[in-house]
């Protein structure tokens, strides 16, 4: 008889069966690595104004610039190497996406589980707030918060967290409530074990699967939302362009034939978001018990 297989191994075995999902996961991993190692991989630090030269501005892909190397994807209007700008831009996108997603995850999960555990008016109040926020579109909230708080990474992340924690809260609440009614939880609560231990060791682990699904989708959403805000001019400052701002800066050049300034960052952004969503899709399908027949 073979040794028992761990849930993770089982999960991975099934995940592997979809070539699309595996390809998407590969894309996500490679992009993340490139983003993390951008300072070493990129030929230029696009945020360091002392390394730029205006004479390199708006050159087509393949042009050899004043730095002595070929700009594989061309340069932007400030003379930045587009490949480097995209790598650093993805870095920012991933940083913000992960930061916002993680904080929202913690915040939302805490609220959701607390509501499910405490019940009574605490539950009602918390969930009403969460419900209201769920129906309030993220982009509007983010817009107003960014306008009020000003520009900067911290402010942007705060706005994104405020816009997204509700999804986590809702999900955690739903899963925790379902679990709470089960017998083993009732039994645990009857023992002298403190309520917090029950919540942590029993409720939380069973909420994880749907939370993971929500997390992947929300990370993709954060990235998309940040790009939209940057496009509208409400994101990060001009000298630290994220992918959204690169696209926005480059769009006026589309009509005069200098397409690369906008198109390549656009492709990078879409590839990243689509890959994350595909992985999330697959994970969600696998976790959905009603599809297992």
């Amino acid at each position: 008889m073979s040794a028992p297989v761990s849930p993770l191994a089982r999960f991975w075995a099934e995940f592997r069966r979809s070539p699309v999902a595996v390809a998407a996961l590969l894309v996500v991993v490679v992009t993340s690595l490139l983003a993390i190692f951008a300072p070493w991989v990129a030929p230029q630090d696009p945020y360091d104004l002392t390394t730029l030269s205006l004479l390199d501005a708006r050159r087509e892909p393949g042009f050899v610039g004043s730095g002595g190397y070929a700009h594989l994807l061309g340069t932007d209007p400030q003379g930045r190497d587009l490949l480097s700008a995209i790598l650093y831009g993805m870095r920012i996108s991933l940083q913000i996406g992960l930061a916002a997603g993680t904080v929202a995850l913690f915040l939302g999960t805490t609220i959701g589980i607390l509501a499910a555990y405490a019940r009574g008016w605490v539950e009602t109040v918390l969930m009403r707030i969460v419900d209201l926020q769920l129906s309030f579109p993220a982009i509007l909230l983010a817009l107003v918060l960014v306008a009020l708080l000003g520009q900067g990474k911290a402010q942007l992340i705060t706005a994104l967290v405020a816009a997204q924690y509700a999804y986590f809260a809702r999900t955690a609440y739903g899963a925790a409530t379902a679990e709470r009614r089960k017998d083993y939880v009732e039994a645990a609560l009857a023992t002298p074990l403190s309520g917090r231990r029950v919540a942590f060791f029993h409720l939380l682990p069973n909420c994880l699967p749907p939370l993971i699904v929500v997390a992947t989708v929300q990370i993709a959403n954060s990235i998309s939302l940040e790009a939209t805000l940057s496009f509208l001019g409400l994101g990060l400052p001009v000298t630290e362009p994220s992918l959204g701002m690169l696209i926005s800066n480059g769009f006026p050049y589309m009509m005069s034939g200098r397409y690369w300034i906008s198109v390549y960052p656009g492709i990078a952004l879409i590839v990243l978001i689509v890959a994350i969503n595909l992985v999330g899709d697959r994970v969600r399908d696998q976790f959905n018990p009603r599809l297992r027949r």
Partner: protein, 535 residues
């Protein structure tokens, strides 16, 4: 599955096909309607509300100014036919006879008095009081003569009146307080002028629809109807022109200009602009946006040191700014006014570009590692403003002055600048009256609210010689002597390098080839009355 054959899908298909058909033939110029695509529109239809160029340009369609500024900003008769100095503090203006407002009432001196007195009451954040700042009192002598008493000799009063719009004292009588003004004008009853077009309708940030006023004193305009569409997005505006939705557009960006030169169906008109971009350096002892290279505070303000300012000037490569950042649509500038204006000094040399010397000067001044500054500018006011700012950031960083570039919306920038929150900033200044007292009087003179000089001097610049020259010039009635005073003042101001002029802009208009013709104006206004159809 039958959904793809629903009536809805069929209708959608029909629509697309119909759209294709009608896109083929839409030419506006032939049927007497001019459709203009403009980058910025008026904030309201009250001409006295805002001094912004886009606001005044729209106002010039419905209202007239007392004095007219021609294409090259030289003054000509407008609603006033002649003017002369009566004594040291009095000007007399003779008004044009037989002019009527759109509602049929006569234009007379009462309307002039009413308009001047109304301005301080209804002026908004970008105030128009600068155009009547020298006026102490207005006296109606007879229906066609008005005497203006000034606070001291005011040689350039007629120049100020090129933006003095005249409204009807009867129609606007009830609409001259901040609460009532915009409603009366935007809604219609007060929006009555003597200009070439009558108001039909207006959508804020949308379309301004006008119809020809046949009794206009200059004559009947070439268009029966004029529609000014506000389209702030450069690419959309150009696309609209190419698609035939509009006949003329303004502010073609330098990016698109290059492509337009290869497109035979569109022709571009390029004109020099009155706007010069100036970098301004804080002279206060404790500037908020300047710090040591490691982020800590500095002992003193490096910008107060003339050799530091010279270093900054040397770090700037004006040629590259014009050729690369503006893609050729501009000229290097060495002073705050375009050449040839009254008070421009032709003997000022064009500053050099020498980054090595800049570094030397900085080291000698005690900043071998440089320092850090926050640079502020607008991103949505003049063509290339944000890009020039970023280019500046690069150039300064490369001599050791680490620059944090902040290109922000003009509506946030100007109030903050007015509150003296910025230390190093750059914006364009347009000498709209065509002569130096407007520019030097607002920027170079020390800030003195009693004398009403230095109102836009936000860097605490004070040079006694310059102050003296400007005060003399304001009261000197002899043209040649006055010109010499201003030229000297300009030379001294530019030598101090607190204001560092960078580039003079050029403006580009575009229209469908062979449809219309017009002369580019220095103040960048696009006026329907002066746009002639080619056939």
């Amino acid at each position: 599955m039958t959904t793809f054959r629903t009536p809805r899908a069929r209708r959608a298909l029909a629509l697309i096909l119909a759209g294709l058909a009608s896109a083929a033939g839409s030419a506006h110029a032939q049927d007497g309607t001019l459709v203009m695509g403009v980058r910025g529109g008026p904030e309201s239809l009250d001409p006295h509300y805002s001094a912004l160029g886009s606001h005044a340009e729209a106002a010039k369609h419905i209202y007239d100014t007392l004095v007219w500024s021609g294409d090259d900003l030289q003054i000509e008769p407008g609603l006033a036919t002649s003017w002369e100095v009566v004594d040291d503090t009095t000007w007399e203006f003779k008004l044009r006879e037989g002019v009527k407002f759109h509602d049929g009432s006569d234009f007379d001196a009462e309307d002039v008095k009413f308009s001047i007195e109304r301005i301080p009451l209804v002026s908004g954040p970008t105030t128009t009081t600068i155009y009547v700042r020298r006026v102490a009192d207005v006296e109606v002598i007879d229906p066609l003569t008005v005497r203006i008493k000034t606070d001291g000799p005011a040689a350039t009063l007629p120049y100020d009146f090129v933006r003095l719009f005249i409204v009807s004292s009867e129609a606007a009588a009830d609409y001259s307080t901040p609460e009532t003004a915009n409603e009366g004008f935007n809604g219609g009853p007060a929006a009555v002028g003597t200009g070439p077009y009558k108001l039909v309708s207006w959508e804020p940030k949308g379309d301004l629809v006008l119809e020809r006023y046949d009794e206009y004193w200059r004559g009947k305009g070439p268009w029966a109807e004029v529609i000014r569409k506000e389209m702030p997005n450069d690419s959309s505006r150009l696309a609209a022109l190419k698609a035939g939705q509009v006949d003329v557009i303004n502010y073609v960006s330098s990016i698109d200009y290059l492509a337009l030169q290869r497109d035979a169906s569109v022709e571009a008109v390029v004109g020099d602009s009155v706007y010069v971009m100036n970098l301004q350096l804080d002279q206060r002892d404790e500037p908020p946006g300047v710090r040591a290279i490691d982020g800590g505070a500095l002992e003193s303000n490096p910008l107060q040191d003339p050799s530091v300012r010279e270093a900054i000037d040397l770090a700037i490569d004006r040629e590259t700014m014009v050729q690369v950042v503006l893609e050729g649509l501009g000229k290097p500038a060495n002073q705050m006014m375009p050449p040839g204006f009254f008070g421009s000094n032709a003997s000022i040399a064009m500053p050099e570009h020498d980054p090595a010397k800049a570094r030397e000067l900085l080291a000698e001044a005690g900043y071998p590692d440089g320092f850090e500054i926050d640079l502020y500018c607008t991103s949505d006011r003049l063509p290339g403003d944000g890009a020039i700012c970023q280019g500046l950031g690069q150039m300064l960083s490369q001599v050791g002055i680490r620059t944090n570039v902040n290109a922000i919306s003009k509506t946030v920038y100007f109030p903050a600048q007015g509150r003296l929150e910025y230390s190093v900033f750059m914006n364009g200044w347009g000498t709209l009256t065509g002569e130096a007292s407007y520019t030097l009087g607002s920027l170079a003179h020390s800030n003195d609210p009693e004398l009403k000089l230095g109102a836009y001097n936000r860097v605490d610049y004070a040079n006694d010689d310059v102050d003296r020259l400007l005060q003399e010039g304001a009261t000197e009635l002899d043209d040649d002597k006055r010109r010499a005073l201003y030229e000297e003042a300009m030379a001294k101001t530019m030598a101090d390098k607190v204001y560092i002029s960078l580039v003079q802009l050029q403006t580009v208009w575009a229209a469908k080839a062979n449809t219309v013709t017009f002369a580019p104006r220095f103040d960048e206004d696009t006026l329907a009355f002066f746009i002639q159809p080619k056939n």
